[in-house]
Symmetry: C2
Subunit: 241 residues, 2 copies
């Protein structure tokens, strides 16, 4: 191994979701001492163009700031890089192309977690930004395993998801959580057995309101953290001297 | 301003305390959007020599790893650097000497917060590592303002503080919190009106056990976060375009 393990986290989208991801990384890593915990370098710079507006064609692209973050994480010695923001995966290929450290994809980590769950659900709802839904990553990943995706319609997104998301971003977790609960119920009513909470603001807010259906959800950030932790645990025997 | 504001956080001591500090930074910063939140780059690498053992002469110095962290944060563009670990401030001068970005001292931020509190206490207890207590930073800072410090004795440190601290580091927050409660009560019984929780593990654990005397405590990490947030708020008007 030429490069010691060091997880680079391209965060800031939003900053609270990034800190939540860092907490999850620690929580899913068995460690008897500080030294056994996963080493990370984190770029948590929220001064970045709005991803939802960029994909809607109503704002500038965040790509220049994302490229800066990737460059700084590589300079800091990251051996692997993750982005705890589903929507930002629109620029995944462009970022992978210029990064020395390999990027780990949040959708791949999530679909693996869904498929490993027992029993595997037949219908899964997806709560996500319009950009993520339009990209179709989660739907495609589920369909490859014979699972039917259930997605919000335009009216639901405008009524519940988008306002909920911006509420979280200004710190109003209870307001955001209440909006996401409406969205979740609509998906359950259309036959979803479980939900993928495919926007990092959503699980933060649903935990804040103690949503009773949380055990029926998959959190892509948690799946990504578990994937990273597993890689670290495979490395740390040789890393710790 | 030649260097845009970017707070460098030299963390990992321990990794949980670092994440707690990042949460506090967000909580103390009024922000109506992601973009108004404080930008940070975080070195959360816990593979660093034990500070308590180094100061007790029973383990290697963490200075080489601290210097690496300072170098990486400067390379990443940090304009200011903080260390959310009281004990690591033993190496503050050595780190300041080599850092382009100025370091903000946790003790100065804390003493300012204590002095600004109204009414100013006459006797303040300090819960800290032996290394921090032997250094005398907090005692000296309090005495300069006519406040009498009340400190744990050797037996209390060995019975409560040290086991509590290592309990937190292995994730046993309730066990650590219970030990710190004993230490706090001893200081209150010796006349302390308030306490400085001068080890970043302590407030995390006391919050986990809902210690009833938390309103009577000063948290240096919180004081440091508030100082950083204030600097950011002074900068952000010119920073945001």
């Amino acid at each position: 191994m030429t490069q010691p393990f060091l997880l680079g986290v391209l965060g800031g989208m939003g900053p609270l979701a990034t800190v939540d991801f860092l907490s999850t990384l620690l929580a899913v890593t068995p460690a008897a001492s500080d030294q056994q915990q996963i080493p990370t370098v984190v770029w948590n710079v929220p001064q970045i163009a709005d991803r939802q507006k960029a994909l809607a064609g109503t704002g500038p692209s965040p790509l220049p700031q994302l490229l800066t973050g990737i460059a700084r994480l590589n300079q800091a010695g990251a051996s692997h890089i993750v982005i705890p923001c589903n929507t930002a995966h629109h620029w995944f290929s462009a970022l992978s192309d210029v990064s020395r450290a390999p990027l780990i994809h949040i959708v791949e980590a999530t679909i693996s977690a869904v498929v490993e769950a027992s029993p595997t659900p037949q219908r899964i709802g997806i709560i996500a930004t319009k950009g993520t839904l339009d990209a179709g990553w989660f739907q495609h990943g589920l369909q490859q395993h014979g699972i039917t995706p259930v997605v919000p319609d335009e009216v639901e997104l405008e009524t519940w998801f988008v306002p909920g998301c911006y509420a979280v971003k200004r710190g109003a977790l209870a307001e955001g959580g209440a909006a996401f609960v409406h969205q979740a119920k609509a998906l359950f009513e259309r036959g979803a057995e479980k939900l993928i909470l495919a926007c990092t603001e959503v699980p933060v807010a649903l935990r804040a309101v103690n949503a009773p259906f949380l055990p029926l959800t998959f959190d892509p950030a948690q799946a990504l953290a578990e994937r990273c932790s597993k890689i670290w645990q495979d490395h740390r025997t040789s890393y710790l001297t």
